[in-house]
Symmetry: C2
Subunit: 449 residues, 2 copies
């Protein structure tokens, strides 16, 4: 029976009889010291020090990253990682790694440029700090799904191949689909609304989304994992904000419980789950004022160039999160009531019932540690209002036949949001670039590996 590295360490503490066990994994590091070879073996559970006598080390002709199987006796050694080691009795090389490693797996990734890391993705993913990113990401997806299932949400899987874009025709990747042109979906927006109106009422989806944006920034990916939520019978975006508070609290709680080791590798910590309740909801205009006040204060103390901020741009996102951290103890804020011009045409007006101008919308962004991680809002569900709205945005009913038939035959008030999975991962761990949080990131130049 194969023992994992962490089981071998545990066995050392328990094993008083010197019973042999077997481990398998990758040669993470090789070090020689006075005729003895120390091998750090890496497997899915962690690392384990192996002590090889001279004859075994020679027999193995070890190279870094080779896959080996070792039999030996676990023993305590407080100088070894985890406080124990395996004293080898036999060694077998299962898969010998060529000695010309193009990328040093056990190196310090902080000293390696991102392009080098991504160019060597097949090997760089073996670095324990990099693997840790994706263990945290798996927890995010698990916790997201579990929380919503617990609240009667049904998981859906919708098509990523669409006849036209939800947000209009720009920024779409075109696909040759037999004898016609179709597009990769920018979001499951329309489909999740269909599923709310289907009677499922509450749905979520974890799936890729596509944006054919040409810019290359530390916050953009051309393909990302969208954590989508949609629910019926809401009053306003505030119902969605309350749902997301609980959702993020659960994700942070699970990450803290399941990924303590991974968080430690990045010197990172998640916000205290209970602090989510304190995160402020800030209307757009007020958020803009806060950002400008913060910028002015920073300028006074010489910490900012100090130009006026006219919308919630990346600088404003950073300033608002810093303000929330100082004032509320959590670097997270929900900015709501966005002006109409910043939101899709189907966003529900804030003052629809009050005979108001409809200048503001029932919409929100969630800013976390200086980055927008979520966009959401209530949607227009009234068929007649929707029809009246289209021409105001220069749109034609003929382009929205699907949407119109969705609303025409009984659609409850509803709304939803989407969390960028890679962005949330990035901000939990403090990664400099969102591409680090994508296993195989796609940007304008990169489609390999």
């Amino acid at each position: 029976m194969r023992y994992l590295a962490n089981e071998a360490i545990k066995a050392a503490a328990e094993n008083k009889t010197g019973v042999e066990i077997e481990v398998s994994g990758w040669v993470h590091r090789i070090r020689e010291l006075g005729g003895i070879t120390f091998v750090v073996l890496r497997d899915r559970s962690g690392i384990l020090q192996i002590v090889l006598s001279e004859s075994l080390a020679d027999a193995g002709k070890l190279t870094p990253e080779s896959v080996i199987r070792v039999r030996g006796v676990p023993a305590l050694n407080e100088k070894a990682p985890g406080g124990a080691e395996l004293r080898a009795v036999s060694l077998e090389v299962i898969s010998r790694a060529a000695p010309d490693l193009p990328y040093q797996v056990n190196g310090d990734i902080a000293k390696t440029g991102l392009e080098t890391i991504l160019d060597n993705r097949i090997l760089s993913l073996r670095n324990p700090r990099i693997t840790a990113i994706f263990k945290v990401q798996a927890t995010i997806i698990e916790a997201f799904s579990a929380y919503l299932r617990g609240r009667d949400f049904t998981e859906i899987k919708t098509s990523k191949i669409v006849g036209s874009g939800t947000e209009g025709g720009t920024e779409l990747f075109e696909v040759d689909y037999f004898d016609r042109k179709v597009y990769l979906a920018q979001s499951p927006q329309f489909y999740k609304e269909v599923m709310v109106a289907s009677g499922l009422e509450r749905v979520f989806e974890v799936a890729p989304a596509y944006r054919a944006e040409k810019h290359d920034t530390p916050r953009h990916l051309n393909e990302y994992v969208s954590l989508d939520v949609e629910m019926g019978f809401i009053e306003s975006e505030k119902d969605l904000i309350e749902l997301e508070r609980g959702l993020l609290a659960h994700i942070f709680d699970q990450a803290a419980r399941k990924n303590a080791g991974e968080l430690a590798l990045w010197n990172a910590s998640v916000p205290e789950p209970s602090s989510l309740a304190k995160a402020p909801i800030v209307p757009y205009e007020e958020a803009l004022k806060i950002a400008n006040d913060e910028a002015a204060a920073a300028k006074k103390s010489g910490g900012s160039s100090g130009g006026r901020i006219f919308d919630i741009n990346p600088e404003a996102e950073r300033l608002i999160c810093a303000w929330a951290g100082r004032e509320y103890g959590i670097e997270l804020a929900f900015v709501n009531e966005f002006p109409r011009r910043y939101r899709p045409f189907y966003t529900y007006p804030l003052d629809a019932g009050a005979g108001g101008s409809g200048a503001l919308t029932m919409s929100f962004d969630t800013l976390f540690r200086g980055l927008e991680i979520t966009t959401g809002g209530r949607r227009q569900h009234d068929y007649n209002v929707f029809l009246e709205t289209l021409p105001k945005f220069g749109l034609k009913p003929g382009d929205f036949t699907g949407y119109l038939s969705l609303l025409k035959y009984g659609c409850p008030p509803h709304g939803g949001f989407a969390v960028g999975c890679e962005r949330l991962t990035q901000k939990i761990l403090g990664l400099a670039n969102v591409k680090e949080a994508s296993l195989f990131p796609r940007d304008r130049k990169r489609v390999e590996p």
Copy 2:
């Protein structure tokens, strides 16, 4: 506070004081009887009979599929669905459905053609039998993920945009990606192998996969949800078969527990989870013989046209499952040891270590109720053997640089499989066509809605 339909029915049994409650949902059916209007209301929990006095019914001007909010008193009525009804006190129409419904939501879908159902997908998804399909599918995805997480598998999300196909260049959808051509991934095959070798060792993915196949059959989709598994340190495909036994048993167990109502709507049942242990493993040649013997027996009794079967085609799949059902009590069989010509070039040979011909492979298909639902196998992990193998298949090392760098630097023996989510859903419920198990199916002609 809003009550759900099933909560209202429960309240009727408990409520002795005549307290008013509120429900919301869709008008599923309207029936008038002696001046009283009976409305069947549908929400995410099920259906509830509402009793409306004449004045309320008139005030509402009800149309089928309108979304309404009703206050009333729950009361027992053994003739009503669920044994209770709500006697309405007030009614509000939240969203009035236009009276020109192009599709009768509460109709009998058994009498409606599939094309009509799919052409009217936005409305047909409201039919409770159709919604039921996707509640079962959500359970499949949840149970698949939970079972694997419980066995130390890490969920991954890999790119669906690839520079080239894993299986060669055919049957790929081409995407315009900025100034180059890329493709939609046929499977995450290469990526899940990279993640096994990354040290995660055990990974799974739930994601769309694409096949640009032109044929239109009841068993094919051009876009489907692939339930992918890959694991390291296996000996043969039999380790994978044992994993899938447990996995399917868990999925069937969960579907039986969570979806009793949905299964009943389709007059369907899942196999007894414990029966998975009895499902036979049948080598390819033996499976072919069984299929031919079954066909011959059927011909004798006049039940088959009886031509010779030369490979595991759809007819053979049906015959082998019928045989397994009769002989082992479960209509499920694992066919393994496929001849080389039927499997991808990277499939591991069965007799590699015995100096054999390599004519058979460590591969398997899972057949369930007459349909292949899974394909899997062990993969070649030896760099030198892989390099030697390529020319035998007319392939060049230059086309497999990613694969080669995966194997060159330490790769354990590994393998995996993929379950077609829609096919498993189809066979659990006994659907005639796999398209019924896709929310928004894509075929050669259909990319809307």
